[in-house]
């Protein structure tokens, strides 16, 4: 496969530099993003922009939402949330695993799971 080796040799130094820069930026970017992602105690599940569920991060629960591509299952447990299953081809959303900050999106099914503060009057307890 000398053609392959030739092609490999054709890769310039600048190619390598570009590659390394991009890799480093991506990796450090992932750390940065993890740092600034918002945390809170409310999980909002929106489909196509419409709020379907507002759950508490501290209560164990599993819900299913229906989107244009099918049913996405979201699990809340132990103060964290994950997309357990989704009909999207990427399965990027499922791959993200458990998280307690930021958000998870499943674009094909238009599902957005965000973690936020006590949005819109969501209280931690009621006296009365």
């Amino acid at each position: 496969m000398s053609l392959a080796r030739e092609t490999f040799k054709e890769i310039t130094i600048y190619d390598w530099v570009l590659l390394v820069v991009l890799v480093l930026v991506s990796i450090s970017g992932s750390f940065l993003v993890r740092g600034i992602a918002s945390t809170g105690d409310t999980v909002r599940i929106e489909v196509g922009g419409k709020l379907i569920y507002r759950l508490s991060l501290s209560e164990e629960r599993t819900v299913e939402v229906r989107g244009p591509a099918g049913i996405t299952r979201v699990e809340v447990k132990g103060g964290r949330v994950r997309v357990a299953d989704s009909p999207c081809p990427n399965k990027l959303c499922v791959r993200q695993g458990w998280t307690e900050r930021g958000a998870i999106i499943c674009l094909p099914n238009r599902v957005v799971v965000t973690i936020g503060g006590d949005a819109e009057g969501g209280v931690d307890a009621v006296s009365g």
């Binding site: 190619d15 970017g29 958000a103």
Partner: protein
């Protein structure tokens, strides 16, 4: 000129669509890991026949695929179109200005990054108007894009070498472009 270009465009576009379909049929253990093999055609066409041809191929591919899969004018279509056009344009720019610095691999990386960044931006502007989930998922997508960019770039390079070696016409065309 024109008829020859048209022929090339038609054949290459067919290849691109074919590659896309083939890629879709592969039962991937990691369903989200797609190489965007059609981009190999785009890049190769760019290097051999220039930006106009490459752009036309991209447009045809995106249009026909969306019509065939029924996602015409849907979100997938918009994202594919945006990503494809941006990526082709930027690769054209890069190969015109920076071809002395970069091999097809580098150009492909640029195209891949442009493709992904454009798609993320479009997704934000048009579909999910929340900065957070987009930012959150960007590093992962870029990382994947790097891998596919490299793979496609190497494949393009290989293809170019093979083609340049074969026909004198191709050699002449290649000579004209570079």
């Amino acid at each position: 000129m024109q008829s020859r270009d048209r022929l090339r465009i038609a054949i290459l576009a067919a290849y691109a669509i074919g590659l896309h379909g083939l890629e879709r049929m592969i039962p991937a253990p990691l369903p989200w890991l797609r190489f965007g093999l059609a981009n190999i055609i785009t890049l190769t066409a760019l290097m051999l026949y220039g930006l106009r041809v490459a752009l036309t191929i991209t447009l045809i591919r995106v249009l026909l695929v969306s019509l065939l899969t029924g996602s015409f004018l849907g979100p997938g279509f918009v994202l594919s179109l945006g990503g494809g056009v941006a990526s082709t344009l930027l690769m054209g720019l890069a190969s015109a200005l920076l071809s002395s610095l970069f091999s097809p691999v580098g150009i492909s990386l640029i195209g891949s990054m442009a493709h992904n960044l454009t798609q993320l931006t479009l997704a934000y502007l048009l579909f999910i108007r929340r900065m957070e989930p987009i930012l959150f998922v960007t590093p992962l997508i870029l990382l994947l894009g790097i891998i596919t960019g490299m793979v496609n770039g190497m494949a393009s390079g290989l293809l170019l070498k093979k083609l340049k070696g074969d026909s004198p016409e191709v050699k002449a065309a290649a000579g004209r472009e570079s």
